[in-house]
Structure formats: C-alpha cells, structure tokens
C-alpha cells in the first residue's frame, strides 16, 4: 500500500521535476544533462515572441480574474440572501459550471460568439456613419477574457460562499442594530470579513486563467497566450527554453496557490 502510494506520487511529480531540472541544463538537448546554467531563462526572457505571449497571458489573467472576483462576489452575496428551491437551482448551476470540461466551454463559447458576431457585424456596419471603417467584432483578447471570466466566476462564487456561510449572521444584524444601512453593513462588516476569500479567489482565478490552454486555444483568435505559444513551439521539438518557460509558469502558479491557501486558512480562523 505504501509502495503503491509512493509510485503514484512519483508518477505525478517526476515529470514536473525533470522539466525544472532540465531548464537549468547547459546543453541544448532536452534529454542530456550537460552542466548547470541559467542561460535558457535569459534566452526565453529575451525572446520577443515569448514576451508577447506572456504579456497577453498576464493581461487576460489579470482582467478575467478581476472580473470574476467582482461578479463572483456579487453573485455569492446575492445567493446568500435567497433561500429555498431558487437557491438550490443556482447552487447546482454553479457546481456544474465548475465541472464542465474546458473543451466544452471552449467550443461552446467559440460557436456562440462567432454566431453572435456574424449577426451583429452587418448591423453595426449598417448603422455606422459613412466615411469611417466600421469596427468589426472578432475573436481575440475580449473573447478570451469573457470566456475565462465565465468559468472562473463559478470558482469565486464557491470560495466566497463558503466564507459567507461561515460568518456569524449576528455580525450583520449587530451592524444593522447599530444604525448601519445595508450598504454600510456590506462595506464595513461583510466585505472586510470576506476579503481574504475574495483575494484567494482572485489569485486562484489568475492562476487558472494564466495556465489555461484548452479554452484559450478555441477563443483566442489571432492572440497567442503563453500556453498556446508553448504548445506551438513544442511541435518543433522540446528545447530547454520551453522547460525554462514551464518552470517559471509553475513557480508563479505555486506561489499564488500557496498564498491563496494561506489567505483562506487565516481568514477562516479569524472569524471564529
């Protein structure tokens, strides 16, 4: 049993460890260690394609995590206020949204947006004043952010809901009893108390968006995110540069995940 457990963990983590290890390889072959070097990191960071993709990824991750945090929190607070079957239906829909495979979200968003854009573009062109080139809705940064926000929102709702449910209802009642308006109560009591959860939701969302390949692959249009760049360059062979990029993404992701976890734990303890 113990051996079996060890095997499972090795199977999970050895490939990751190998990527990290080979990212420091001095040689140019991905299968042969030839001394320690950080030159591939330098190379990756000086590659304009990599930096472009990184910029796109960061922008998408930041924007979608921000939107998801704001809308997710609003949804969570609203859901906390309703009861009965309506709430059960919404709860179910949210859990389903988290479980839906990325490929389904990707294809569905692609088809949905393309259909809508095809309908809207002639309309916009028709009402656009003459003499100017009418703007054309197409897949790109906007659709990427929208698609990511959609599935990340469900994640934020779940995290914030858990925190709200753990909060003593007497606290909001006490605030109201002490003459605070509902908005005042939200700003002065609810928000500070659920803030760690919102921040954790933001960081998790950021990580998920930053790492996402499947959804991005469908809806990115002409944009290239970092995972898409890695995927396309792997077709030309795995270089230590790719390993370096992978290791950096891993490092950033881990850091955010750990921060999020700490925030959730600390926030949970304080409310008791």
């Amino acid at each position: 049993m113990r051996l079996y457990t060890i095997c499972v963990y090795l199977f999970l983590y050895i490939p990751i460890g190998v990527i990290a290890l080979f990212s420091f390889n001095a040689g140019r072959h991905a299968s042969q260690l030839q001394g320690f070097s950080t030159k591939w990191y330098g190379k990756a960071l000086n590659n304009p394609f990599v930096m472009d993709a990184l910029e796109t990824s960061l922008m998408v991750a930041f924007a979608s995590a921000l939107c998801a945090s704001v809308f997710g929190t609003m949804a969570a607070v609203a859901l906390q206020g309703i009861k009965g079957p309506v709430r059960a239906v919404f709860d179910l829909l949210i859990y389903v949204a988290v479980m839906i495979p990325g490929i389904v979200i990707g294809i569905a968003t692609l088809i949905g947006l393309v259909t809508v854009f095809d309908q809207l573009n002639p309309l916009i062109a028709a009402i656009w004043p003459g003499g100017f080139e009418p703007p054309k809705l197409r897949m790109g940064m906007g659709s990427l952010i929208a698609a990511h926000t959609m599935f990340l929102m469900a994640l934020v709702v779940i995290i914030v809901r858990a925190r709200l449910a753990g909060m003593d209802r007497a606290l909001t009642e006490a605030s109201s009893d002490l003459y605070a308006t509902p908005m005042g109560t939200f700003r002065q009591v609810t928000l500070p108390m659920i803030f760690p959860a919102i921040l954790a939701g933001f960081l998790l969302s950021f990580t998920f968006s930053f790492d996402d390949f499947i959804i991005a692959f469908f809806v990115a249009g002409s944009e290239t995110t970092l995972p898409i760049y890695v995927f396309s360059s792997i077709r030309r062979g795995v270089t230590p540069e790719i390993n370096a990029i992978g290791t950096m993404v891993l490092g950033v992701s881990l850091l955010m995940l750990i921060t999020a976890q700490l925030l959730l734990q600390r926030g949970g303890k304080k409310s008791r």
């Binding site: 003593d168 007497a170 606290l171 009642e173 006490a174 605030s175 109201s176 009893d177 002490l178 003459y179 605070a180 308006t181 509902p182 005042g184 002065q188 009591v189 500070p192 108390m193 304080k270 409310s271």
Partner: protein, 373 residues
C-alpha cells in the same frame, strides 16, 4: 389568561410607556413562534422575558429590535407603530448572545461603530471622547486599541454592553447575555448590569431561561410558554401568587398535589386530593367546583414536626444548608416532596434523621390552588 387581576398586562402606573406589543403574533411557516403578545414596557424599567428555549422570548426580542416583523398585531416604540421599520432606523440597541463583536476591529472601533454611522458625521475627537467614557462606565478604561480576541469572555461582554449603551438607546435589549459566562462572573455581571441600569436610566429588556437571573435583576418578569405570555408581574408577585402550576414550577421550587375542587365558598376552597385526602387552600385563579386542579405549597411554607397532627411522612434525605435544612420526605400516597426547615425551628424541634417518622403541616393560606397546566 386575564385572571385573578395580577396577570399585569399593563405597565405599572406612573411610568411613561416606551415600547408596546399589541396582539403581536409571529409565524415562521407553519410554526407559531409568538402568539397574541400584549405587553407595555415603561421608561427606565428592567423587564425580563423568562421561559425555556423555544418559548418565543427571543422572537419577541427580535421583533422589538427590528430583525423580524410581526405577522399580526403592532409593535410600538415611543407611541409609534414600527412593525416594518428596519433595525437600523430604530433607537434600540442589542447585546447579542455571543456578543457579535466585529473581529476585524479594535475595541474602540467596535464601541464607536454606532456613532460612526450618524449623518451628519460626528467629529472624530468627539467619538473618541465618548468611546473613552463608555469604556470607563464598563470599567475597561485603557483597552481602546485591544483586539477582540485578546479579551476574555467577561471583557467581551462589557465591550458589547459599551457598544450598545454609547448610543443612548430608548431600549437596551439583552439576549441571554450571561449564557457564555461562568457562574461566578455571571453573579458579578448581574450586579453590574443592575447598577448600570439605575445609573443610566435606560430601559432594559432581558431574555433569559435562568430564573435566578430574572428574579434577581428584573422589576417585572414576563413568563412565556409555547409562544404565549403566561403571567407578567414583579418577581415577588410571581413567586407568591403564580397563576398556574407552570409559573409556580418555573419560578422557585414547589410541591404539587393533584386533586379536584370539592367546595368553593369564602376565602378558601376545599380540594379532594386524588389519594382521598381533603385539604383547604387559597384559589390562585378563577376555579369552579369539580375542576381538576393542583395544590402548590412552597417547601419553606411547610413545617416538619416530631409529634403533631398533620401529614405523616418518613424522612428520606437531609441536606444541611447552614441557615436552612432541606428534607426530602416521603408520604405513602402523596409521594416525595421537599420541606425547607429554617435553622431556628430545627433547634426548637430537635433534629430529624433519615428514616425518622415525622409529620408535615402548612397553613391553608400557603396552599395555592392552581390550574394543572
């Protein structure tokens, strides 16, 4: 329930009415949590709702606070109907059961919370000054910048109290405020609360299931059961003249003997007990001949004798309590009951030991005839 003239649905004369419940009922789905509550609370009064959990006392308090709206009837504050007025518009403050202090704020921020909600805004210096004064009142001067979790249970309770009284509310509502304190601290806080109430002149409404707490602090007690008010009165009235077996049992200790009224003329009535004995007692409510009733005699109203005409009993247990001795005695058909014997009569009569035969007597006027419920 309006019987005997001492249900006391109205406020004692001479006090201005600050809050009122008029035929108030509250339903949660199919559950009737409060039913036709009628009560007026006088200015500066210390009133307690007493009853077991689920009797509707907390619901009554929450309707005064504005957390629940009545399903029927009217809640009045200072003469105005406030049925659906939100809690944040009511000049009423509450001390919550678990205090509900804001964990992300300091002691001073917690106490100043109510003042900070005022529009137009109060100057900061004025808030700080009032917070300092409120802290002094609850004897926590210098604790301004402490965090809530650094405070003990008793200190947290004082913070909750200061947070409420700083707003000078018309009504201060206290929801089982002592429940989380240990016994010794509870005694201290009871005395402090009473002092505070006299000092500030604020009307206090307390909810509790602890009869001792209610008896020792309140001007009036409102006894509740299954969502209804059973009796309202001063602690003495409730103890001396309970209007039902329920009240006699809930307030203090009493011995009960079941029977039927056989004669009812003049001051006293005669009750034929279920075991065949016939005893006289004072009707505690409007009762008619043939009605199933019970007789209630307080343990301290009973006298224990060595040789005397009375109810023959055998001493089962003896607990020496200093100024009193508590005897558990047993009668062949009446069962076990308690007799509380003062030290002086003990000295005069000589001691009773476990296993001794003895007789018990009581004055007919000390035997209250009550409804069985």
């Amino acid at each position: 329930m309006e019987n005997g003239g001492y249900v006391g649905g109205t406020n004692p004369a001479g006090k201005k009415v600050i809050a009122e419940l008029r035929g108030v009922s509250k339903r949660f789905g199919d559950v009737l949590a409060a039913s036709e509550l009628n009560l007026s609370i006088g200015e500066g009064e210390f009133l307690s709702f007493l009853g077991p959990s689920g009797c509707g006392k907390t619901t009554a308090l929450r309707m005064l606070a504005g957390f629940e709206a009545p399903s029927e009837g009217d809640v009045l504050l200072d003469g105005e109907v406030v049925n659906t007025l939100d809690a944040h518009h009511r000049p009423v403050n509450m001390v919550f059961q678990q205090y509900a202090l804001f964990p992300h704020m300091t002691v001073a921020q917690n106490i100043g919370y109510g003042l900070r909600q005022r529009r137009p805004r109060l100057p900061r210096a004025q808030i700080a000054e009032k917070v300092g004064k409120a802290l002094d009142v609850v004897q926590l001067g210098g604790f301004e910048s402490r965090r809530i979790w650094e405070m003990s249970g008793g200190q947290q309770q004082r913070v909750a109290l200061a947070r409420a009284i700083i707003n000078e509310p018309k009504l201060l509502l206290l929801d089982e405020p002592m429940a989380a304190l240990d016994r010794k601290l509870r005694k201290e806080m009871q005395i402090e609360l009473q002092d505070l109430q006299r000092q500030l002149g604020i009307t206090f409404v307390l909810v509790t299931h602890d009869q001792e707490e209610a008896l020792s602090m309140s001007d009036r007690i409102c006894i509740m059961r299954d969502g209804r008010i059973v009796q309202i009165g001063s602690p003495q009235q409730l103890y001396d003249r309970p209007n039902s077996r329920y009240v006699a049992d809930f307030v203090g200790t009493s011995n009960f003997f079941d029977g039927k009224i056989s004669d009812r003329s003049g001051e006293l009535a005669t009750v034929a007990l279920d075991n065949g004995m016939s005893v006289q007692g004072k009707p505690g409510a409007d009762l008619s001949v043939g009605q199933e009733v019970c007789i209630s005699v307080r343990p301290e109203q009973m006298k224990l004798h060595h040789r005397h005409a009375g109810v023959d009993v055998e001493v089962h247990n003896r607990i020496f309590l200093g100024e009193h001795t508590e005897y558990l005695v047993s009668h062949e058909t009446l069962g076990d009951f308690l007799v509380l014997s003062p030290r002086q009569s003990e000295l005069a009569e000589g001691p009773f030991n476990v296993g001794d035969k003895a007789t018990v007597t009581w004055e007919p006027s000390a035997a209250l005839i009550l409804d069985r419920n």
